[in-house]
């Protein structure tokens, strides 16, 4: 998977968790890829973009493979994310949700 082409994109960090999840899924479907990293933007407001920006990396799936939907989950604290056995962690990072920094875990269903 890691040798497959990647695509970078930005998502509005002022949006709700659900809207961001939808956009990530739309990006996955568009790029025939799965989100493999998602994190809040470093630094201040990027010019001509959003007040709060999250950056995503999509990695294309192998030929014939499904694009698995991505799910987002806000996790409190610094402990383990406690994903279920059939949940495959894609990222665990600080992300802007409605403009506030949250710890968000993204996972695909296995």
């Amino acid at each position: 998977m890691s040798a497959n082409p990647t695509h970078l994109a930005a998502i509005d960090g002022d949006a709700t968790l659900q809207v961001q999840e939808d956009k990530l899924n739309f990006g996955q479907n568009g790029f025939t890829a799965e989100a493999t990293s998602y994190a809040k933007a470093a630094g201040g407001k990027p010019p001509n973009q959003f007040n709060h920006t999250n950056n995503v990396t999509f990695t294309e799936v192998d030929i014939g493979a499904d694009v698995r939907p991505i799910h987002l989950k806000v996790v409190e604290g610094t402990g383990a994310a406690n994903l279920a056995d059939d949940q495959d962690e894609a990222f665990d990072s600080e992300v802007y949700i409605e403009g506030a920094v949250k710890r968000v875990v993204g996972y695909h269903e296995k």
Partner: protein, 494 residues
């Protein structure tokens, strides 16, 4: 026979010496009241090697010294000359550059000005007629010399001038005529590497901006004699990668190719000069059955030789901007230069293909009248339009944002993906069976409905890649899900 010998003898005796012209002294410090700037020379031989590496060290030291005098600020202008010039005092470009620096220093306040003159063997002979015949020979030199040494020098100049994002120093690089080709060839590959590194870093850290570490404020190829084949690859990369390049909220050029409408040399003579060498090269025909799948190729150009015979700025299909003349400034005066009570304003060209940070355009002859007369206040004023201003934040490269979507578009995109994976899986698992062949045929039919046809559908692997490329269009335009879904036989619920 005697005449031939005479010409040969003349040409030998009139050869411009193959040597460094600034061996003992290569840096000329400011002389108050006379030349209020520092001028440094760095020379390269006909193979592209430093004549003397200490010239680079001295130039960098002079930049550091000037920064110390200017409380950390300096203006550095680097100039790469073209054909029929070199680093000697006999070269008109040396004196033109001095005048340029004098003018800049006169308007820079307390900020010291350093000029770096990049010298190479642009003149091989002084014999008037033979000089004109040296076009091919000196063009080959301009192709040959941009190697490790000149790239190292240019990057060290940029790095020494601008140390970090908050450095208010200004760094401008200008290449003229064949010097434009030298500058472009010397920088393009290293800039690609720089962008790739930043992109990689950005993807790993999730940083919001793909920020170029301030290589320069402006890199200009003026009246460049480089064929557009030089710039097209980088332009294509920027186009395919959807890169933007901004200073604050303003788009600014990463590279600027600008040519005078009065420059008959690059408009008419360059195609003639390049034609003989074109014959010895294999130029391809662009057979793009799906132009949408190849964003790096401008539409309507069937043959590579079109690019080889014209410069980037003289190629209408590659032009990104135009300059219009007005009696008053545009809505945004920052895009305009006042020259002789008229305003020359820069705006994006209508229906342009080139919307990349590699800007290409032509300028009025009132700014630069011909090929050679570039050291003019009118041109200086125009170049200031392209410079970031003090209030603007450091430049950045950005990626496109995922647009807002409706639930219906999301739903359709998921169905499109499901169909795509079914077809690919059937093909991968059953290539030699009816199921695989049926999947291949269906994929071809879908592409046909999306106006993709021709020889590129012959290779089955291409077919499925093209299908992915078509689906990718929805990222920039979510409304396309309907068209793609229909082509795939997917019905919308709405």
């Amino acid at each position: 026979m005697r005449n031939v010998l005479l010409i040969l003898l003349l040409s030998l005796t009139a050869c411009v010496p193959n040597r460094s012209f600034r061996q003992s002294v290569s840096v000329y410090p400011p002389i108050p009241g006379e030349s209020p700037y520092t001028l440094a020379f760095i020379e390269f031989d006909d193979m592209g090697e430093f004549w003397d590496r200490t010239q680079l060290n001295r130039a960098l030291q002079s930049i550091n010294d000037a920064k110390a005098r200017g409380n950390g600020q300096v203006i550095v202008v680097t100039f790469v000359h073209g054909w029929k010039n070199n680093a000697s005092d006999d070269s008109g470009n040396v004196w033109g550059f001095r005048d340029e620096l004098k003018d800049i220093a006169g308007r820079s306040g307390n900020i010291p000005v350093v000029g770096v003159y990049i010298g190479w063997r642009g003149a091989a002979t002084n014999v008037p007629f033979l000089k004109e015949l040296s076009f091919g020979n000196r063009r080959n030199a301009a192709i040959r010399i941009p190697g490790a040494n000149i790239t190292e020098a240019l990057h060290k100049i940029m790095r020494t001038t601008k140390q970090g994002e908050n450095d208010r120093s200004k760094c401008v690089l200008i290449g003229h005529s064949f010097g434009g080709m030298v500058l472009e060839r010397a920088l393009t590959q290293s800039m690609v590497s720089l962008i790739n590194d930043e992109e990689e870093k950005n993807g790993k850290t999730g940083a919001s901006r793909i920020s170029i570490p301030s290589p320069a404020d402006l890199i200009v190829f003026v009246n460049s004699a480089a064929p557009a084949t030089e710039g097209k690859q980088f332009l294509g990369m920027l186009k395919a990668g959807h890169y933007y390049y901004r200073s604050g909220t303003r788009d600014v050029p990463f590279f600027l190719a600008i040519t005078s409408k009065g420059d008959t040399a690059t408009e008419f003579l360059m195609p003639i000069g390049h034609f003989p060498s074109k014959i010895t090269k294999a130029m391809r025909q662009y057979d793009l059955c799906d132009p949408d799948a190849h964003p790096e190729f401008p539409p309507g150009i069937p043959n590579q030789s079109t690019y080889y015979l014209h410069s980037t700025a003289n190629s209408p299909v590659l032009q990104s901007h135009e300059i219009f003349v007005s009696d008053r400034p545009d809505d945004d005066p920052a895009n305009c230069a006042e020259v002789h009570q008229k305003w020359y304003c820069v705006r994006p060209k209508a229906n342009r293909w080139n919307d990349t940070p590699y800007w290409a355009m032509r300028m009025q002859a009132e700014i630069v009248p011909d090929h050679g007369t570039i050291f003019r206040p009118e041109f200086r004023r125009l170049l200031e339009v392209f410079l970031p201003t003090r209030d603007e934040t450091p430049r950045t490269l950005e990626r496109v944002a995922i647009p807002n979507i409706t639930s219906s578009q999301l739903d359709l995109s998921s169905k499109i993906q499901k169909k795509r994976s079914e077809l690919e899986a059937s093909w991968v698992r059953h290539k030699n069976e009816k199921e695989g062949q049926d999947a291949l045929k269906e994929a071809r039919d879908i592409l046909g409905k999306l106006n993709v046809s021709g020889t590129c559908l012959a290779n089955p692997d291409n077919v499925f890649q093209l299908l992915r490329n078509k689906i990718k269009d929805i990222v920039s335009d979510p409304s396309k899900v309907v068209q793609i879904a229909e082509a795939m036989g997917i019905k919308s619920d709405q």
